[in-house]
């Protein structure tokens, strides 16, 4: 029997990874001023088309790509409806969630994808470390993509000209517009990025971890990521920490009863949300949120 700490740590990693993919994308979008509510739909679409792609191409890599592209397509639809046309971003987001849930559930009943699962990588030497070795260094290979994606998101936002412009659009779109930045274009690009990453996160969940697709497989994980971004105070380190908190509580909920501890599972699940609300209450005055978050920008005459 494995060490319980290893078990919990390992399942924390596996439950956190899909959130972390999506969260590093949502970080980019929110810094540009879009509170992307369709994240849930993007992840679900990614999860479904990840499985379909894997089945069609007969290979996991192409499955992940298909999932990411499905998320990207949703990002493109959302971005152009809300930041080219001027539809309310929440209306579009809620609608896309409904649409994707319906579409994936519908298609699931009409097609029968062959399941395949990503292989496991054991990192040489490190995987034999006591306790953490198996949990951190023996995982499905797509998890290690996070080692590229998280730093990439941070670099894009904080160290490139594009990221500076994006943040300007999130903080003060009028000023950004006057200095020659196309605000809605930057915001659209942020949504493309989050679409791709959320799709990848969804595909990771279905193709890498589970190996098949169930109806409404993401079950609110997209909203969880929205909460994690708030919890993390719109800083990437905090956001990834938030993802670990959500993944960890989920892992504890699954593991503790098996280990003979009696807990209130609902209390455990609800704690991160309460933390997020409390964090908002106490830190709201610190103005961590991008100043123009969720405020549409329209170039006008006034």
């Amino acid at each position: 029997m494995a060490n319980p700490v290893t078990t919990i740590l390992g399942s924390t990693m596996r439950l956190t990874a899909p959130l972390a993919f999506a969260a590093s994308g949502e970080y980019v979008a929110e810094r540009g001023g879009t509170l992307n509510i369709s994240l849930e739909g993007m992840m679900l679409g990614g999860a479904f088309f990840g499985v379909v792609g894997t089945s069609a191409f007969g290979n996991v890599f192409m499955g992940l790509v298909s999932g990411a592209v499905a998320g990207l397509v949703l990002g493109i639809i959302h971005a152009n409806l809300s930041h080219r046309l001027t539809a309310n971003t929440f209306v579009v987001g809620l609608t896309l969630n409904v649409l994707v849930l319906g579409l994936t559930s519908y298609l699931l009943e009409t097609m029968n994808p062959v399941s395949l699962q990503a292989g496991i990588i054991k990192v040489p030497l490190l995987h034999s470390l006591p306790i953490v070795g198996e949990a951190l260094f023996t995982n499905r290979w797509p998890m290690f993509l996070l080692l590229i994606i998280v730093p990439l998101s941070w670099y894009l936002v904080n160290r490139t000209r594009w990221g500076l412009e994006l943040r300007a659009c999130g903080e003060n779109p009028q000023a950004a517009d006057v200095s020659g930045i196309n605000v809605n274009k930057r915001r659209r690009q942020g949504l493309y990025y989050v679409g791709f990453m959320a799709g990848l996160g969804g595909a990771y969940l279905s193709v890498a971890e589970v190996g098949l697709f169930n109806q409404n497989m993401t079950a609110g994980r997209g909203f969880l990521v929205n909460a994690a971004v708030i919890f993390g105070g719109w800083r990437l380190a905090g956001i990834i920490g938030g993802c670990f908190l959500f993944g960890g509580t989920d892992a504890l909920r699954l593991a503790l009863p098996a280990l003979g501890y009696s807990i209130q599972p609902q209390l455990l699940i609800v704690l991160p949300y309460l933390f997020a609300i409390l964090a908002m209450c106490f830190f709201a005055k610190r103005n961590q949120a991008p100043a123009a978050l969720a405020k549409p920008f329209e170039r006008g005459l006034t």
Partner: protein, 396 residues
């Protein structure tokens, strides 16, 4: 700017046909609007048809026919449609009030859950006689929803926490709270002899339910429908014709001017938000006492979200929520009938999503056209002014 009375008219009666002025005449304007709607809905219909043809052996016509049969083909079907539309409509009216005050909320889901939960406690735990308990359970539902929205309002106006964010998070807290109460015998879980006990409440007995109008197999509907109708009329009147309604609308149209005129943001904006929560909570109570009859984890089942969507399509009009909510109800009742055709029921979710998209497209397209045209006009007059200035310079 428009005078308030004109705002009332254009927003209340036919909001959809009174978009930005693109056509040269009023009739041309309406024609362009109607044309855009026809194109948008035709596109949605075409997409659904293609999907059905590509994935099943059933013809799209059969699917439409099944939806029609299940939703409006007879009195029983019509009753079912109205019943399904009732909670959606009540939620939607509340959201319209909040939207009118300029507050955007995504909390109806959680407020609906809290309303149903409080209603459940009133019915099962207080041991009151039914004639007292039923009205009290609806009032309790409204209070439950109002408290849940009140938390968001309190956080917004004391700590500056964004309403969208807090309502989003509170939805999850409500979901878990309901789950918790349905897993404890001393709270709401039904004490059945099986083990493990299912996480659900007891069922309301026939005498404890909201009275029904009519009898199956004819027209039969819960009396909650009357509540929904009464509320629609009342809210439309209050918003259009009372001082409170005027202040709420003023706050939504121009918060700066409203505050300068002495309309308190916290009082009226927060009040509208709490009221929208009360409506969503009441919808939860009506659903529980008249339709669902028992609480299960996540019993909201998307109804709160659908009410929110209805309100967002209707935009600022209370009256417009009625046909849209009935249409959503039709998708529910017709969807139940779809099983006979062999097409997966989830097709109604796809139809719902595409219809919502089709309904929000025309106004935004018109808005963009209108905006581009004003920019073009402004640019031209600016160029003319510059050219004039050049001439003056040359002359000098």
């Amino acid at each position: 700017m428009t005078v308030p009375d004109q705002v009332t008219q254009s927003e209340e009666i036919m909001p959809m046909l009174m978009g930005p002025k693109v056509g040269k005449t009023r009739a041309g304007n309406i024609a362009i609007n109607v044309g855009l709607y026809i194109v948008a809905f035709a596109a949605a219909f075409l997409l659904v048809s293609i999907l059905i043809l590509a994935t099943t052996t059933t013809s799209p016509w059969d699917v439409m026919h099944a939806l029609y049969t299940g939703s409006v083909s007879g009195w029983a079907a019509i009753g079912l449609t109205l019943e399904q539309a009732t909670p959606i409509l009540i939620v939607a009216i509340g959201v319209v009030i909040a939207n009118r005050a300029g507050t955007f909320t995504i909390g109806p889901q959680g407020q609906f859950l809290m309303g149903g939960l409080v209603a459940g406690f009133v019915m099962f735990k207080f041991g009151l006689p039914v004639p007292v308990a039923l009205p009290l359970c609806l009032v309790g539902g409204a209070i439950g929803g109002a408290i849940w929205a009140g938390i968001a309002a309190l956080l917004r106006y004391t700590r500056g926490v964004d309403v969208i964010i807090s309502t989003l998070l509170l939805n999850f807290v409500a979901l878990e709270l309901v789950d918790f109460c349905l897993n404890k015998i001393f709270l709401l879980q039904e004490n059945v002899p099986t083990s493990p006990k299912p996480p659900q409440s007891a069922q309301l007995t026939t005498g404890e339910r909201l009275p029904r109008i009519g009898h199956l197999p004819g027209f039969s509907v819960t009396s909650g429908v009357l509540i929904a109708i009464a509320l629609t009329v009342a809210v439309a009147f209050v918003l259009a014709r009372t001082k409170w309604g005027f202040r709420v609308r003023m706050l939504g149209l121009n918060p700066t001017a409203a505050q300068a005129a002495g309309v308190s943001m916290a009082l009226f904006g927060g009040g509208a938000l709490i009221l929208s929560g009360a409506f969503a909570g009441l919808a939860g109570g009506v659903w529980f006492a008249g339709i669902g009859l028992r609480l299960t984890p996540g019993f909201e089942g998307g109804l709160g979200g659908e009410g929110l969507l209805v309100a967002l399509i209707a935009r600022r009009s209370v009256i417009a929520t009625v046909p849209i909510a009935i249409f959503f109800g039709m998708l529910h009742s017709g969807g139940g009938y779809l099983a006979t055709t062999g097409v997966p029921t989830n097709i109604v979710d796809i139809i719902r999503g595409l219809v919502v998209l089709a309904a929000i497209m025309p106004p935004v397209i018109l808005h963009v056209w209108d905006n581009r045209r004003s920019l073009r006009v402004a640019r031209r007059s600016a160029q003319r002014a510059v050219a004039g200035a050049d001439l003056v310079e040359v002359a000098a």
